[in-house]
């Protein structure tokens, strides 16, 4: 881990953002010229409920050091209840991953609204630092051995 840091390791984070709130929040952060670390690759999805656990695990498998899933705040879902349904799914998944021993701090969930550009920038900064502190992902990473 130390070695990789020396070699200029930077965490790679995949962020699945819902189109209506969180992506707009990210957009606002950009338009507002807010600075945040460039380690995150954003994937826009229609709704947080679109995020299947498969997408999260696949990201980790293919070398993401961290994953963020973000949608509208409860009550604000464009599809009325998508984020509520997603919340249950994520609760189970989050517990399961932790139970199996996947480090806490690899997979993150958040609610970010379209107005929260600043919050988005802060969130990404926090998550980036947390993932950086963990070092490169180890569990689930697929290697061709």
């Amino acid at each position: 881990m130390q070695e990789e840091k020396v070699n200029g390791w930077e965490p790679k984070i995949i962020a699945f953002l819902c189109n209506w709130c969180s992506y707009a929040g990210a957009d606002l952060a950009g338009v507002s010229r807010l600075q945040y670390p460039p380690n995150t690759r954003i994937i826009r999805v229609p709704c947080s409920s679109r995020i299947s656990p498969l997408l999260i695990l696949k990201s980790l498998q293919r070398g993401a050091d961290g994953v963020l899933v973000s949608g509208c705040h409860p009550g604000d879902c464009h599809y009325l209840s998508g984020n509520y349904v997603a919340r249950r799914k994520f609760a189970i998944l989050n517990n399961l991953l932790e139970y199996l021993g996947i480090e806490k701090g690899r997979v993150h969930f958040a609610w970010v609204s379209a107005a929260e550009g600043k919050r988005f920038a802060e969130l990404i900064t926090e998550i980036t630092e947390e993932v950086r502190a963990l070092g490169p992902a180890k569990e689930l990473v697929k290697k061709l051995d």
Binding site: L57, V85, I92, D145
Partner: protein
Amino acid sequence: MLNTSVMIRDTAKKLLDQKRVDLIIGFETGTLPLRSTPCFVRTSEEAEKLIWNASCENNLARYLWGRKEKVGIVAKGCDTRSIISLIKEKQVAREQVLIIGIPCHGMIDRRKIEAKLDGKEILEADEATERVILKGSDFTETINKAEFLHNSCNTCSYRNPVIYDVLIGDKVEEKQGIDEYGEVKEFEAQPADRRWQSFTNEVSKCIRCYACRNACPLCYCQECFVDSSQPQWIGKTTNLSDTSMFHIIRAFHTAGRCVDCGACDRACPMGIDIRKLTKKIEKDVKELFHYQAGVNLEDMPPLAAFSLDDPQQFIR
């Protein structure tokens, strides 16, 4: 046991003769000691082969989906819970199944017995109410059934059928004071790296035979995620990352549906502790959403529902 077998046969014959069902799914004597095998009975003559004993371990609800005919099914407590899950998920219509409920004392785990015998082969097993007499080429041993039940039977609190159309015999007393999630709690208490180590140790045994998936009454997807080629979610080899992902996702897909019948666990030829995962999810579903799968026909499946105040401490 014998009595139960006779009652099942009589019931099956009656149902078939009266044309109330086209098919009875039950058990017949298997070819190995302590091994009964699923059977499909369409005439009252065939019904003669139906039996009941402590090795009727398969969850027959597995055979319900995709059928057109009216089916009578011999079902233990856990099987009836799976049937409820299937009815709720509209894979089977309630009117299409006639449930022949059997109160269950638990099913014998052959592997536990084999482990105790340390490699000696059982050639004959005589089952009585509480004991089984095991005979090998150079030994005879009597064991207490209760000590050699499947883990899922040990933690079962639904030994009686939850729904049924016909009940065979008398209901049994449900176990009291069982520590249903003892194993899960024990695992939770270990440090994270140990947990990951022990999980990967288990799944490294996986040979991707999919017996767990195919034995599961709820794994009825038209296309399983492991079989999808566009996109291809996981690789086809026994690469540890791929097998890990397979087991995590398969377990996740049982969330709010798994009744802990243990079918996956029993089917696994490599002895992978699959219930370690499913039981955890079952526990979480109960604690977080106050839901237990397959205990009634009314409650909404938890992942198809929500509550405004569902826990969300993990969300920033």
